[in-house]
């Protein structure tokens, strides 16, 4: 099953290059993957904590590398996110003028990379699958991008390559931190042997710093964020949806999967640094977002800003906070994908995303306005959307952390400041909504048409996901909670 999920997009991409009808094949692959993910969800045992549906093939017996896949609640959630967003991104791909086949093939490769990374039980392939998406991203931005695409493509590629190799060093150190006979790239066995032979505190600090730096660059942690807004502003909308919605979450997933359970002391040691950096994400980038004059740049910056909340959940190092972080990864993925999709549709109709040029579009594009409104309110964190439920959990988790130690711990201060971030995001989201959809309309836009009925399906799916987990967050929490519960009983 899992092997199918990973290989299906790759096979579809190869078929498309070989000559199969591009859009049709890509859509079939995306739908198949979504259905298979739903089947996995229905068969998933929510009580058990370990990996399920594991399939494994030895690749190197010398290094104990396995081509192994499995899901626990956390990976299943990420898998669900990847398949939904892939489906929406493929659907939203409009008419491509040159190299149409390559465009779909690139999208599918990014999707396969994300799915592979999220379901891999082996450190080597966990890393390798994420890198699979690097060249497709470079090509997507370089060939089909807008604006200063050359600069954006180079920037994201060099940044991510550097981040990945720093991460690789961290992962190798993690692999070498257990005694030689027990060294393995299998994440499960590695955790077990770390539980028996704990890593010394100083080693944990080194490894955690490398992982934080490596993953941090991939997640656009302040101050390594500058590639993200530029790349997302230039990327074609489906690429921005997949990258901001899914692929960027790889780093967060990695921190939750590896750093939190295996390096608790390292996490504790670097907590202050992380809190300061994440406040940089929330407050500084939040203010930068308000100053943006173009919708695509604003969305790019807002996606950087929201990473701060997820970091806060991860830093809080308790079940509540990490669960909130996982939920927000999912919710943010859906909402940012929807925002980029609508922005892309507007750009394809008007040719510009300058706030000063737009305005009053709700009159001609009511459905787009509605969808954008839903996504914007979700991104702000209004009750009823999944983002609200997740942010509440993160704030409670962060407040609780350190409460026993001292009443006014740095975490309490950080949480209060982060709450102000919600106000900041309200400001920029509502301003963007007003200057795009409300107010006086430029007469140039009177002939614009709304989203066709076909495009309403993926929009409805994304909104449904946001609302479902907004009203029933428990379904999501129950899925990921067992995983995190083992983290904090194993380590504390």
């Amino acid at each position: 099953m899992l092997l199918f999920l990973v290989l299906c997009p790759i096979a579809a991409a190869i078929l498309i290059i070989a000559g199969a009808p591009a859009r049709f094949t890509a859509l079939v692959a995306a739908i198949l993957n979504f259905v298979v993910a739903l089947i996995l969800l229905s068969r998933f045992d929510q009580v058990a904590a370990g990996f399920q549906f594991v399939s494994s093939f030895a690749v190197s017996t010398d290094w104990r590398i396995h081509f192994a896949f499995g899901v626990d609640g956390l990976s299943l959630l990420m898998l669900l996110l990847s398949t939904i967003v892939t489906f929406a991104a493929v659907w939203f791909t409009g008419k491509i003028d040159n190299y149409e086949r390559a465009f779909y093939a690139c999208l599918l490769f990014i999707s396969a990379g994300a799915i592979g990374a999220f379901t891999s039980v082996d450190l080597f392939f966990f890393y390798a699958f994420h890198e699979l998406a690097l060249v497709p991203t470079f090509l997507l931005i370089g060939i089909w991008g807008t604006g200063n695409r050359v600069r954006a493509a180079w920037k994201i590629t060099i940044y991510l390559a550097l981040g990945s190799f720093i991460l690789l060093i961290g992962l190798i150190l993690l692999y070498q931190s257990v005694p030689p006979p027990e060294r393995t790239f299998d994440i499960r066995e590695l955790r077990d042997s770390i539980a028996v032979h704990p890593i010394t505190a100083s080693d944990q600090r080194h490894i955690y710093l490398l992982l934080l730096l490596g993953f941090g660059i991939l997640i656009s942690l302040f101050p390594f964020h500058s590639w993200a807004p530029e790349a997302y502003a230039s990327a074609p909308p489906p690429a921005a949806m997949l990258h901001a919605g899914v692929l960027k979450k790889f780093g967060l997933y990695g921190l939750l999967r590896l750093a939190t359970p295996m390096l608790p002391e390292g996490a504790h040691y670097w907590m202050y640094l992380l809190v300061i950096l994440l406040l940089g994400n929330i407050i500084y980038i939040g203010l930068v977002t308000i100053a943006q004059k173009q919708l695509d740049w604003m969305l790019g910056y807002s996606s950087v800003m929201h990473m701060g909340y997820i970091f806060l959940g991860i830093a809080s190092a308790n079940v509540l906070g990490t669960t909130g972080a996982a939920a927000l990864i999912f919710a943010h993925g859906l909402s940012i994908a929807l925002l980029f999709a609508i922005a892309g549709e507007i750009r394809s109709r008007t040719g510009t995303l300058e706030f000063s040029e737009l305005g009053g579009l709700a009159k001609v594009m009511p459905f787009a306005g509605l969808a954008f409104g839903f996504a914007a309110f979700a991104a702000i964190g209004l009750p009823g959307f999944a983002n609200f439920a997740s942010e509440i959990m993160i704030f409670f988790g962060a407040i609780r952390n350190g409460w026993e130690m001292q009443r006014l711990h740095i975490f309490q201060i950080a949480t209060v400041l982060a709450l102000w971030g919600v106000v900041i995001s309200t400001v920029y989201m509502l301003r963007a909504y007003r200057s795009t959809f409300m107010g006086a309309m430029n007469e140039r836009w009177e002939k614009l048409v709304d989203l066709g009925s076909g495009l309403r399906i993926p929009v409805a799916l994304l909104i449904a996901g946001l609302l479902w987990f907004g009203f029933f967050p428990q379904t999501l929490v129950q899925m990921v909670m067992p995983t995190f519960r083992t983290y904090f009983t194993v380590t504390k």
Binding site: W63, A128, V135, F138, G142, W154, A161, L162, Q176
Partner: protein, 474 residues
């Protein structure tokens, strides 16, 4: 079960090369390509024969010829390596022959030599990877170098090729002088030329360490020219650019790999001498930094690949500094696949639009298959996962981290990120840039088959590296 004594392999290759040369002299009228096909078939047979080798005598009871020559797992692996390289190079030479004919009508008569010299070089390379005695190392190295002198300046009416040939000749002679001088010092100190006995002599502690270290440094200088380590790299860009493209490929894969095998063999005794590891680390650092930085601004793909070969020599030296023979071997195998693949494409494309990177503009439109093959080669050279190049870098970083070589690791990361820039520059040209002309590029069946095999091998060994790791075990 047939069992072939290992030394027969080289003799077979030599006989094949000489036979082709003789036939060429007496049968002047036939199509010269037949010699190339004969060479490819002969080498393939020898390659098959390497799987049915009789084991050589154990090192303790070696006598006569076996004092110079070994048939251990490392040497047999690299004999296959050299045979594969030569086969691919000869295939590239067939593609290159029209360019040679066009450049000069009179040289076309010498095509038979062009096809037979690589076989003699191959025999030299195969001897070199088996050599365990300084005298034998020197003799086989000269066999390799002298046939390369001819090959590099083969288009003799072309001043650039002649310049390359002269540079290679002078610096090759200089490096040989360093090597011989180093060997005499070591012989003077130990009274031995056999590597195993030199090791024993070094270990006995009764020798003059300073004199031995001086000799060792001279030997390293001589080998440094072969593997293009900084600061002995200055011949590389010009020679790579001036030589015929298949010869450049041969130089950058065959000659370099043989240099690394010899380096691994001589370092075993040398690392007992004081400060030797520090010296290798220093050379490795200089080489990765120089190779990658100098590659950044290149616009000529052949020069770019020349600098990138210096950079790869640097990564290999990192593994050598950690004395990880397995990582060196795997990296060289990966390097063979991706380098030969990119040179094979370059050989074909340069005849139409030249060897500048801008000559690749819009290749994805003109020749989608060649563009895809180049994409795989560049991804592997840059070190993206699911390619053999990544697994090679991965093994090198694993051993550098295990040895706590922090400086090497830190510099390695930065230079790898540099590498992404200049390799993706080629990808950018192929996919982003509009095409200057719309002629499709014909690719012969043989070349296409070889490229497909190289692509498949690059991806398979990137995911399933165990066969190469196993080949070194028995």
């Amino acid at each position: 079960m047939i069992a072939i004594p290992a030394p027969h392999l080289e003799i077979d290759v030599l006989v094949l090369g000489v036979a082709i040369l003789l036939f060429e002299t007496f049968a002047a009228k036939i199509d010269k390509k037949i010699f190339a096909y004969a060479g490819i078939i002969g080498l393939t047979l020898v390659l098959i024969a390497t799987f049915f080798l009789a084991p050589g005598p154990a090192p303790q009871e070696a006598s006569g010829f076996w004092n110079f020559y070994t048939a251990d797992a490392l040497s047999i692996f690299f004999k296959r390596f050299m045979l594969v390289t030569t086969i691919v190079v000869v295939v590239m030479m067939i593609d290159y022959a029209p360019a040679l004919r066009k450049a000069d009508a009179s040289t076309s008569a010498n095509l038979g030599e062009f096809f037979s010299l690589p076989l003699l070089t191959c025999a030299g390379l195969m001897y070199l990877v088996s050599a365990i005695d300084f005298i034998f190392i020197f003799v086989s190295l000269e066999l390799v170098t002298i046939s390369f002198f001819v090959l590099v300046s083969f288009p003799r009416r072309n001043p650039i090729a002649l310049e390359a040939g002269v540079k290679y000749l002078i610096l090759g002679a200089l490096s040989a002088a360093f090597l011989v001088y180093g060997i005499t010092w070591i012989f003077g100190v130990t009274g031995e030329t056999n590597l195993a006995r030199i090791t024993a002599s070094f270990a006995s502690g009764k020798i003059d360490n300073h004199a031995a270290a001086f000799g060792a440094v001279l030997v390293l200088v001589g080998l440094g020219f072969k593997i293009a380590a900084v600061p002995f790299q200055m011949w590389v860009p010009d020679v790579y650019q001036g030589a015929p493209t298949p010869v450049t490929a041969f130089l950058s894969v065959g000659s370099k790999a043989a240099g690394f095998v010899v380096l691994l063999r001589v370092l075993q005794p040398f690392l007992m001498l004081p400060n030797m590891q520090r010296l290798v680390v220093l050379i490795a650092l200089l080489t990765v930094v120089y190779g990658n930085l100098a590659a950044l601004p290149q616009n000529n793909l052949k020069r770019l690949l020349g600098y990138s070969s210096i950079a790869h020599a640097g990564y290999l030296l990192i593994a050598v500094a950690c004395f990880d023979g397995r990582a060196v071997t795997f990296y060289l195998a990966a390097y063979l696949l991706m380098t030969l693949l990119s040179f094979a494409i370059l050989t074909i494309v340069e005849q139409q639009t030249g060897e500048e990177i801008s000559g690749f503009d819009g290749l994805a439109k003109r020749a989608p298959f060649l563009a895809f093959a180049m994409l795989v080669a560049m991804a592997s050279l840059a070190g993206l996962p699911f390619t053999a190049g990544f697994f090679g870098k991965f093994l090198i970083f694993v051993s550098a981290i295990a040895q706590k070589q922090t400086a090497l690791v830190a510099v390695g990361i930065v230079t790898v990120a540099c590498g992404f820039y200049y390799y993706l520059k080629v990808v950018r040209a192929m996919y982003w840039q509009p095409s200057t002309n719309n002629n499709t590029i014909p690719v012969s069946v043989l070349s296409r088959a070889i490229m497909i095999l190289l692509i498949i091998a690059t991806i398979v060994f990137g995911v399933y590296p165990q066969p190469i790791l196993n080949a070194l075990k028995h």
